[in-house]
C-alpha cells in the first residue's frame, strides 16, 4: 500500500490556505464554464490556462483540474433545467433529466446527477491512485520506438473506432500533425513551412488553436441556432438530497456498471462521449421497465452521469502515466504541464512526486468540495442562464482573445484564433471531427521526435517497430485498430454471413 502513503503526502501538499482557496476559485469558474452555452470543458480550461502561468505547477494543476470538475458538474445543470447539454457528454442526461424538471422534480434530478457524477469520478480516481503508478513504472522501460508505437496506437484507434467518415478523421489528424510541424524543427534546428514569416517561426500553439476551434466556433454555432433559453427554476433542499441518497443504494448495479464503462472508455482515447450514451443504453436494456426511460426516470440520470464523470476522470490516467491524453480537456491539461516546464510521461511519477500526488489528492478533495458547492448554489448558477446571450457572447469572445494572447504575448495569435474559429465552424458543419485535430496538435511534436529518434537509433530500419515483443505487439495492435472496420467486415464475409451495418444500440 505504498500508494496510500503517497496519497496522504499528497493531501499534506494540498492542505494550505492558498491551494484550498484556488480550488474554490477553480470550481466556481468551472461551473460557470459548464453552465454557459458556447463554453465547454476544453476551451474553458484553455482560456483560463494563462491565469496559472505565474503560479507554481502544483497550485496551477489543482486550479485547472478543479475548473475541469466544475465544468463536469455544470454541464448537468443546463441539461436538466434547460434541456441544453452544456457538454457533448451531457446529452444523454437530458433524456430523463429534462422530463423530471418538467414534472417539477428538478431538485431530485439535479441531486441525482451531482451525486452520481461524484460516485463515477470517485471510482475513476481510485483506479488512478492504484493503477497509474504501476503503469508509469512499467512505461519507464519504454524507449523512443515504444513511445512512437503508443502514439500510433492512439491515432489509429481514432481512425478505426471513430464513428465519423474515415477520410474526415484522417484529414483532421493529418492537418493537426502538419500544423505542429510548422516552425523550427526540434531535431535539426532547421526552419520549415514558415514561408519567411517571423510569426510562424514560433510555430502554431495548440492552445490558440483550441480556443479558436472550440470557443469561437461554438459562439458562431450558438448564434446560428438562436438558442432560446427557457428553463425551470430549482433550489435544492436538504430534505430532497437525503431522500435521493436514501433511494440511491437500490440502483447500485446501474452505478457500478456505468462506472466501469466510464473508466474503460475514458482510458481509451476518444471514448469520453460514448461512455454516457453507453451507460444510458445499458441501463435501459437491463431494466425491467424499459418504457419508463425518457419520461423522467431517475435511473436515466444516474446512468449517463456516472459514466460521463468516470470517463472524464479516467481520461487523466493515460495522461499522467504515459503522457497521452484520453480526452480533449486532458490534452489541454497536458499542454499546461509543458508550459510549466514539466515533461508529461512516466518520469513524472519519479521526478515530481509532490506534483503527481498533489493532483491525485486534489481529485478526491475537488470532487467532495464540488459536490457540496453545486448542491448548495444551483439557483445562483441557473440564474446565469437568464442573462441575455447578447451580453454573454461578446464577453466570451473577449475571454477567448485574452487567453489566446496571453500564451505567447502575440497579437498574431489573436488573428490565428479567429481563423481557427472560422475553420472550426465550417468543419463542424460538414462533419470533420475536431477531436483528432486537437490530439494531433498536442502529440504531433512528441510523435515526430520519437519516430525520428527511433530511426536514428536503428539507422533507418522500420523493423525497429517490431524489434521486441512489447513494441511489436503495440504496433501490430495499432495497425489492427486502424484497419478494424475492414477486418471486421472481412471476418463476417469469411463466415459467409451477409455484410451488414454494425448493430445500433
Amino acid at each position: 500500500m505504498e500508494a496510500l502513503g503517497l496519497l496522504l503526502h499528497g493531501f499534506e501538499v494540498l492542505l494550505t490556505f492558498k491551494i484550498l482557496s484556488l480550488m474554490m476559485v477553480g470550481l466556481v469558474l468551472g461551473i460557470f464554464v459548464g453552465v454557459l452555452p458556447g463554453l465547454g470543458g476544453p476551451n474553458g480550461v484553455a482560456i483560463l490556462l494563462p491565469l496559472t502561468f505565474t503560479m507554481d505547477p502544483t497550485s496551477a494543476i489543482v486550479m485547472l483540474s478543479c475548473i475541469y470538475w466544475g465544468a463536469l458538474f455544470g454541464g448537468a445543470i443546463t441539461s436538466i433545467l434547460f434541456n441544453i447539454p452544456g457538454e457533448a457528454w451531457s446529452v444523454a442526461t437530458t433524456f430523463d433529466g429534462y422530463p423530471m424538471a418538467q414534472q417539477g422534480k428538478a431538485a431530485e434530478a439535479l441531486t441525482a446527477a451531482f451525486t452520481s457524477s461524484f460516485i463515477g469520478s470517485l471510482v475513476a480516481v481510485l483506479l488512478i491512485t492504484f493503477v497509474a503508478p504501476s503503469i508509469a513504472s512499467f512505461a519507464l522501460r519504454f524507449g523512443p520506438p515504444e513511445f512512437f508505437a503508443v502514439y500510433l496506437l492512439t491515432f489509429c484507434s481514432f481512425v478505426g473506432l471513430g464513428r465519423e467518415d474515415k477520410h474526415k478523421t484522417v484529414i483532421s489528424m493529418a492537418l493537426g500533425l502538419l500544423l505542429t510541424g510548422i516552425g523550427m524543427d526540434t531535431v535539426s534546428g532547421q526552419l520549415r513551412m514558415t514561408f519567411g514569416s517571423d510569426n510562424l517561426l514560433r510555430g502554431i500553439n495548440f492552445l490558440v488553436a483550441v480556443i479558436g476551434l472550440f470557443g469561437i466556433s461554438e459562439i458562431l454555432l450558438t448564434m446560428e441556432e438562436r438558442l432560446a433559453l427557457r428553463g425551470h427554476a430549482a433550489a435544492i433542499s436538504l430534505r430532497v438530497v437525503l431522500k435521493v441518497w436514501k433511494d440511491m443504494p437500490r440502483y447500485w448495479v446501474t452505478l457500478l456498471r456505468s462506472s466501469v464503462i466510464g473508466c474503460w472508455l475514458g482510458i481509451t482515447p476518444g471514448g469520453a462521449i460514448a461512455a454516457s450514451f453507453m451507460g444510458y443504453n445499458l441501463a435501459k436494456r437491463f431494466s425491467k421497465d424499459k418504457d419508463s426511460f425518457g419520461k423522467g426516470r431517475i435511473e436515466g440520470v444516474f446512468a449517463p452521469e456516472t459514466a460521463a464523470h468516470a470517463s472524464g476522470t479516467a481520461a487523466l490516467l493515460p495522461m499522467l502515466a504515459l503522457g497521452i491524453p484520453g480526452s480533449g480537456t486532458a490534452a489541454i491539461l497536458l499542454g499546461g504541464l509543458m508550459v510549466w516546464g514539466l515533461n508529461p510521461g512516466p518520469l513524472l511519477f519519479v521526478e515530481h512526486k509532490d506534483f503527481v500526488w498533489g493532483l491525485i489528492a486534489s481529485m478526491y478533495l475537488g470532487n467532495i468540495v464540488g459536490l457540496v458547492m453545486v448542491l448548495s448554489t444551483v439557483p445562483l448558477f441557473a440564474a446565469v442562464l437568464r442573462v441575455p446571450f447578447a451580453a454573454i457572447a461578446p464577453m466570451i469572445v473577449v475571454s477567448c482573445a485574452v487567453g489566446a494572447y496571453a500564451i505567447q504575448n502575440a497579437m498574431f495569435d489573436i488573428w490565428l484564433m479567429l481563423l481557427f474559429g472560422a475553420v472550426g465552424y465550417v468543419f463542424k458543419k460538414i462533419g470533420i471531427p475536431l477531436a483528432p485535430l486537437t490530439l494531433a496538435l498536442v502529440l504531433g511534436n512528441r510523435a515526430e521526435d520519437s519516430f525520428r529518434l527511433s530511426m536514428i537509433g536503428s539507422g533507418g530500419d522500420m523493423r525497429v517497430f517490431w524489434s521486441n515483443g512489447l513494441v511489436g505487439s503495440i504496433t501490430t495492435l495499432a495497425l489492427a485498430l486502424l484497419f478494424w472496420p475492414l477486418i471486421a467486415s472481412g471476418v463476417e464475409r469469411l463466415r459467409g454471413a451477409p455484410v451488414k451495418p454494425p448493430m445500433q444500440d
Binding site: F195, P394, V397, A401
Partner: protein, 168 residues
C-alpha cells in the same frame, strides 16, 4: 433546425461547401508538401531530414482530401442539404464581423478599450439592450478583466493610448 416562420433560403448546399473545403485542403497540402520537399524530405546520414515527416503527412492529407473531393462530386447526398440559411448566416455574421473589428481595434486601442466597445456595441445593436445597461456592463467587465489579469495574475495584455494616458 429550420425556423417555421421564415422561408428557408439556403446560401449554399453542404455538398458545395464540402467540395470547396476539399479543394482548399488539397491546395494547402500541395503547398506544404512542396515546401517540405524543398527543405529535404529524404534521408541524411543521421536519419530523416527535417521535411521527411511533414512531407508524408502532406501526402496523406492530400490523399484524404482528394478522396473527400471525389466522394462529394460523385454523391448527390448533400446536394439539397443546406449548409446555412440566409437568416442563419446573417446571425453568424453578427458575431463574426464584430469579432473581426474587435481584433483590429485591439491592435491600436489595446484589448481593454476594444473589449469595452465590443461588449457595449454588441449588447446595444445586436441584443437591443438599453445604452446605459450596455455601457455599464461592458465597463464593469473590462475593469474586472484588467484587475484579474494585469493586476492580480501578472498577465499583461496589449494596451493602447488611453491606458497610457491613465499611466499604465
Amino acid at each position: 433546425m429550420a425556423d417555421p416562420a421564415e422561408e428557408p433560403r439556403a446560401v449554399a448546399s453542404t455538398r458545395a461547401v464540402e467540395i470547396v473545403v476539399s479543394l482548399l485542403l488539397l491546395a494547402f497540402a500541395a503547398l506544404m508538401g512542396w515546401d517540405n520537399w524543398k527543405s529535404g524530405a529524404g534521408w541524411a546520414s543521421d536519419g530523416p531530414k527535417a521535411g521527411y515527416f511533414p512531407f508524408y503527412l502532406a501526402l496523406l492529407l492530400g490523399a484524404a482530401s482528394l478522396f473527400g473531393l471525389v466522394k462529394a462530386l460523385l454523391s448527390r447526398a448533400g446536394a439539397d442539404k443546406p449548409f446555412v440559411h440566409r437568416e442563419q448566416l446573417r446571425r453568424v455574421m453578427q458575431v463574426l464581423v464584430p469579432t473581426f473589428l474587435f481584433c483590429l481595434l485591439t491592435q491600436w486601442l489595446g484589448l481593454y478599450v476594444a473589449s469595452l466597445l465590443l461588449i457595449a456595441g454588441f449588447m446595444r445593436f445586436v441584443g437591443g439592450i438599453a445604452w446605459w445597461k450596455s455601457l455599464l456592463t461592458s465597463f464593469i467587465f473590462a475593469i474586472a478583466m484588467f484587475v484579474t489579469f494585469d493586476v492580480a495574475f501578472d498577465v499583461i495584455m496589449p494596451k493602447g493610448p488611453i491606458e497610457a494616458l491613465l499611466g499604465f
